[in-house]
Symmetry: D2
Subunit: 477 residues, 4 copies
Amino acid sequence: MGLRSKQQFLHDLIDDREVYYRGERVTSVTDHADLGIAVQHAAIDFELAEDPATRELAVYKEGDEEYSAYYRVPRSASDLRLRSKLIEAGTAKGATLVILIKEIGTDAIFAMMRVLSRGKSAEGLERLHAFYTECREKDLALAVAQTDVKGDRSKRPSEQSDPDMYVRVVSTRADGIVVRGAKVHTSCTPYVDRILVLPSRSMLAGDVAYSVAFAVSPATPGVKMYASDFLHGGHPFTEPISSKHKMIETLTVFDDVFVPWDQVFFHDRPDLAGAVALTFVEYHRFTAVSYKLPLLDALIGSAIAIAKANGIDRASHVRDKLTWLGGYVETVRGLIELAAQRGEIESGIAYPHVFTTNLAKWTFARDFHRAIEVVQDIAGGLLVTGPSGADWDSAEIRPVLEKYFAGAWPANKRLALMNLISELTSRLYGGYQAVLAIHAEGSVEAEKMAMFRSYNAKPALEYALQLAGVADIDPAA
Amino acid sequence: MGLRSKQQFLHDLIDDREVYYRGERVTSVTDHADLGIAVQHAAIDFELAEDPATRELAVYKEGDEEYSAYYRVPRSASDLRLRSKLIEAGTAKGATLVILIKEIGTDAIFAMMRVLSRGKSAEGLERLHAFYTECREKDLALAVAQTDVKGDRSKRPSEQSDPDMYVRVVSTRADGIVVRGAKVHTSCTPYVDRILVLPSRSMLAGDVAYSVAFAVSPATPGVKMYASDFLHGGHPFTEPISSKHKMIETLTVFDDVFVPWDQVFFHDRPDLAGAVALTFVEYHRFTAVSYKLPLLDALIGSAIAIAKANGIDRASHVRDKLTWLGGYVETVRGLIELAAQRGEIESGIAYPHVFTTNLAKWTFARDFHRAIEVVQDIAGGLLVTGPSGADWDSAEIRPVLEKYFAGAWPANKRLALMNLISELTSRLYGGYQAVLAIHAEGSVEAEKMAMFRSYNAKPALEYALQLAGVADIDPAA
Amino acid sequence: MGLRSKQQFLHDLIDDREVYYRGERVTSVTDHADLGIAVQHAAIDFELAEDPATRELAVYKEGDEEYSAYYRVPRSASDLRLRSKLIEAGTAKGATLVILIKEIGTDAIFAMMRVLSRGKSAEGLERLHAFYTECREKDLALAVAQTDVKGDRSKRPSEQSDPDMYVRVVSTRADGIVVRGAKVHTSCTPYVDRILVLPSRSMLAGDVAYSVAFAVSPATPGVKMYASDFLHGGHPFTEPISSKHKMIETLTVFDDVFVPWDQVFFHDRPDLAGAVALTFVEYHRFTAVSYKLPLLDALIGSAIAIAKANGIDRASHVRDKLTWLGGYVETVRGLIELAAQRGEIESGIAYPHVFTTNLAKWTFARDFHRAIEVVQDIAGGLLVTGPSGADWDSAEIRPVLEKYFAGAWPANKRLALMNLISELTSRLYGGYQAVLAIHAEGSVEAEKMAMFRSYNAKPALEYALQLAGVADIDPAA
Amino acid sequence: MGLRSKQQFLHDLIDDREVYYRGERVTSVTDHADLGIAVQHAAIDFELAEDPATRELAVYKEGDEEYSAYYRVPRSASDLRLRSKLIEAGTAKGATLVILIKEIGTDAIFAMMRVLSRGKSAEGLERLHAFYTECREKDLALAVAQTDVKGDRSKRPSEQSDPDMYVRVVSTRADGIVVRGAKVHTSCTPYVDRILVLPSRSMLAGDVAYSVAFAVSPATPGVKMYASDFLHGGHPFTEPISSKHKMIETLTVFDDVFVPWDQVFFHDRPDLAGAVALTFVEYHRFTAVSYKLPLLDALIGSAIAIAKANGIDRASHVRDKLTWLGGYVETVRGLIELAAQRGEIESGIAYPHVFTTNLAKWTFARDFHRAIEVVQDIAGGLLVTGPSGADWDSAEIRPVLEKYFAGAWPANKRLALMNLISELTSRLYGGYQAVLAIHAEGSVEAEKMAMFRSYNAKPALEYALQLAGVADIDPAA
């Protein structure tokens, strides 16, 4: 108890969960040609706890109990730093793709712990603690379904022509609630043990039925998962990452799903919805920047390597671009390090510094496409005109490619790097990461709003008023 | 004579050309599942001349002769403008993908006409005119093979450890020359009638064997084409463009290919190599910006549409982004219009204004990735988490998608736009266009060098010296 | 009649106008140490008409009548182009500082002509024509007072706690109106013959008293001008421009000023206020970009010269920066050229293409500070640590400066360029131009709004809908 | 001993130092109308040690000895942090202008200590320690003269046509050396106790005479200081900072100056020149970013205040700009905090993390002009068209200004803020800071080179090679 093996994880996924992929119901996610790759990727979580190189980071020992360090409630800035390092290490092992079967779930748990600890719902807090303890002790994998499908974005939940555009409580029973609606962009849903469902925004009094947070098993009747096929397929030559590493997002439909009371953390509470939504995102952006670091390292590392392979590493414009890239990557890394260090405590739970976390995320997001551009620039047009995996596998063709695609490094090295860069920047995986850079964990605009709200303007404002000799004005008036 | 039908074009492609794709020799490019799509796309060229809507633009009447307007030698700024309009119209019909089976070939011919008209090679000019006349009268499709594989980029052609890293003359015979080497990024090679081969850079005295320009038929013995598979596959739901429109690039190998004298425009002429390489690119960048316009229109058009479909078109940040996008697109359009208007004449042949053309291309290239980012930002994360074509085709699943993916517009419209944007920005086609934005028709750095060289600094420099009261200095001293 | 001499212009400025400068009433603007420089600068307008080099551009011959070409009503794209050239030539003669005593006034007249020609006020149109004819025949100098002081920007005119925050009609008499309020940023007011007063924004029904446009002489009782001293002083060594060229802005107060009916173009017309305000700005932004060109040429020209003078013109980063600068300058120039070419006609009056004009202005404005940065970067720290004019004038000190400030060019040339650049970028004149870049002729935000409103989205939107296969939707619905 | 009073500092400046200003020899720097302001500003250094609010930061107690904390040799990351805080506090007291009479001098001393501790010059190290001890014990003020006048930048010191373009040893005597040449941009020279002279670049064997470092008193015969007048004058209304705070830079000429051996730290040592030049700059950039923070706070603070004063603080574009500004300011602050934390030790002396320090400086420098632009944008055109100090002082005019320049805040507050912003961004002080942002402490290009050299590429490069499956290549080969 406390740590599951990879085998147990895979075994526990076999149940009646209703997953659809490419038009068909999936009978077994672990055995499925495409989804199975995603499952194997998720299982890296359990390898981390077994691998001696990462075990210390991945396993937490509290008294006699050992459990997954993802479940360690952060109590200090140092705990936040260790959590960040763990997430980075897991993603590095995942070849730049985050694992995400515990990171996001614990983000949600810690966020709800903080909000519910403010004395607004003793019962909810108790249920949450029980849920947390179960997850930790059983070493469960969790998905978080937050983003509602939202319908017309210019309207509030209760104003939509179809009332199911946000997940809502359709009826209350003695033993629990019945929910309906759908969430999008839910990562890893087909291969986790529990789905945590949170509101995606602040709610007004009129949106009371939409103010609900709960957990369900994916095998619960009425839960239906429609999986995206964005990253399907791939040859190891041209898709060195995504042929082995995938993450699956679903449209997660709640078709009048019954949730017993002990899995309901709150309902009919517009006063809690926004706080939980925002607090979750504060943790989750810290997670996000932590897991972006291997991707950024892969970009700059492959740019340096291909510059050498092409023989252009001494060109002044190449050095200039690599310098910019290094500045970009290290600013993101430095800021997330600071966000942990500046972490603060509420109800005994540490949280990353809100402004600095959002600053880190915004810094990452606003220049990611430029980073892509710079790496493509250094690599060359071969990113999209290079040979196929079948060409490379052909004994007749390969010698031609080896001769003509040699640069300052041999063709096999150069093409391997070119294909890595092509995946990171111009194939489906690159497109996936680019869209995630802008939209995952809240949009760039949301990050900017969070920065605006959390910026501590007082010292600078007072200093300016003093310099202008008008310190006697009350800026809030 | 002068205009071929689409059927003739397809028929004429059937010969012994040696094309390899995905590890195998292709028996018929027109019938091939993937390559056949590219052939059909290329055939749009011939539809332009048949379609009443485009016929006036696509067919030029000179006396009694009617021929493809691509072959019209530009004599004035107005001719350049018409040529630009034709290229734009062809690409719009190609759903943002350029046709390119005559555009690039005539760019090369016009460039060589200008350079050879400087009195440096009467014989070469004569052969070129004969070649041009044949192409025009037979309405031939042309590829241009310019970019050498280049090996170690820090070394000149004659310094490479393998002398075949640039295409070169290996021997001279009484009836012609024998060439060896390979070109990359050659577009459309498998489905044209002639391949024009040009040097890719300026040459020094030591690089004499590499200073050669000639034409061959793709069916010539020793010519081997290894096709990239970058844009293979695709479902019409998720790949509305590339499931119907493709362009194929090849590694084009010259394995001791014999070229008779009448197809050799020059050889052993380092003095001509650089001039032809540069002059070709001047024309070709003008072509390039002309054919980028439909892509840019598709980006801004789809961004406006998805903003409405999502219900966010009144958000101030969305308006701000659309305004930037409109400014970007229209600056590119305006500058290429100016480049034609400012066109100048040499030896009776008009050429687009060099600085303005490069300015237009650079303006396009340096903000293309930001444009992608902006469109993705407005569209949303559904770009990479949306349903597959098979889901949409499923009678069971589609109603769920229709319910939950509705926005301010119905789900079918919204998803169609989302998939269009996904193709343009985050799927393979988007990655292809992004890399082309930086590398096709010369890199961004090459464009900047061309701008630096062609900028007319005199008026500004003299004005500044006069303002500073130091007009008596000779700035060149 | 039709053309005044410079002497007449200066003579006609002698009257009772109430001008304040540095805390004191100015007795004669022409004789004043600081304001006199601005008057001499304004007089360049009349020199243009006398100078053989510019006479053709500056004087228009219509039948037997000769008049200042600024007063030529544009009837075609070609007229707009000539107007742009004239404004550029005047500013070039003004050493990068616009003359502005006819440019802005005719912008206002042409704008009102267009709006009033829409059949909304026959009487107003008649008065305007009479006013225009008088100005043209007497060759008058005009200021335009448009920007109200505005008070609290979050409130409309009629919502302000002090009703005088926008110029308003306080009473109507049989012979005219009485106006009160103040305008800011009024250029050249102290040394013109007439002040044209326009509304600065659109008005609602409640703002009726603020919906007024009229003309007054600066000597009218109650008109008081409080001149800014931003550009005072300067030594010819360190301020080669502003020691000889100035423009004065005033706070222009209307202290219950009576305006006879024949000088009132409209009043109590909220329906006209916004149209006139916007249409004026459309003309004025075209004027603005035209007069920015000499400033941009001075920046790039001095950057090229100082790079040579410093001996760094072959450094790759310097070339890169100069290339960017050239691209910036020539994009602005190209777009304003296009804005004229694309000019359209209303009621027989040509107006520059609205989107392209705003695009040009926005392009200028959004990168101006970066241009400043680039030029400072190339010039060096000497911009702010160099010797004073008195040092240079000292026979003892100058030899030391000549020895130690020599670069690749002699010290006198290098320091002259350094001082020119310092004035353009880091002294008061540079600060003045930088603020003007953002705020003059409407803010950058106003330009973006104009771009958003005038962008013709239809072709791009239709193309995108067609590519997505959803051309059947009505995007306006 | 150990701490001087402000009075002592002022008293000790009275000697025969040869200072020239505005064409004339200055008889007393402390009594001079313009230079006296700079002296008073410098004296803030001594007020810091007296003021109870800053005394703890400004005075270091080592055993029984108390001395200025600037002289504390940093031994740990924590010491670096305290040093940064001290520099920030001093500059805040200096109203955004750094004090710089000990900061830069100790940067130079610590840098030479590190380099000379590498065992290359026991004698030099001993002299340096003696010099350091004297400075600390006498609480001396120091200038650092590093930047040579450099002549033609494309040539090395020994290649210049005039051999005095870099400071050099012209003869060696038994008791010392004689030096000739000139340094520029030397801050505070006229009012310090010692001038430290360092090489400005790496030297080759041929540049041996230029490889010299020493100290002199400003009163030494042959030392001549030609002061810039960039920040002269100013009214407290329109120049709230520079009317009270100035810094003076000089051209510092060494006209065959004799330096005794005990003040010579090394000479004829090309092997030390580059190391000292670079190491000094590493410390000095850390100092620089520390002292930029009050300036950045003043910019964002005044932008927030003026947005409120204008009544536009709720406009979405204003919030967007303030958010960007906050992100910029806090990234700089965060990175310099990290640079201290990541500090490393050499020979017992702590130094700030080189890459992070340069990253902080580059981040500051590359967006400073944009920050200026944003603040000007929010403030408005009144920055350059506002009333003069004399207007404000006039009892007749002030009521008019009070009425018409009121915004959401009263006119006196609003104009005070406007003038503060005008000084920071568009008057001479703003121009001075803008040029310093690019050029002080080495140019932006120099910072980029330092980043490129100090970036630890190994982890990212190895990760990329591993992802590409080519970890067996040696990237250095």
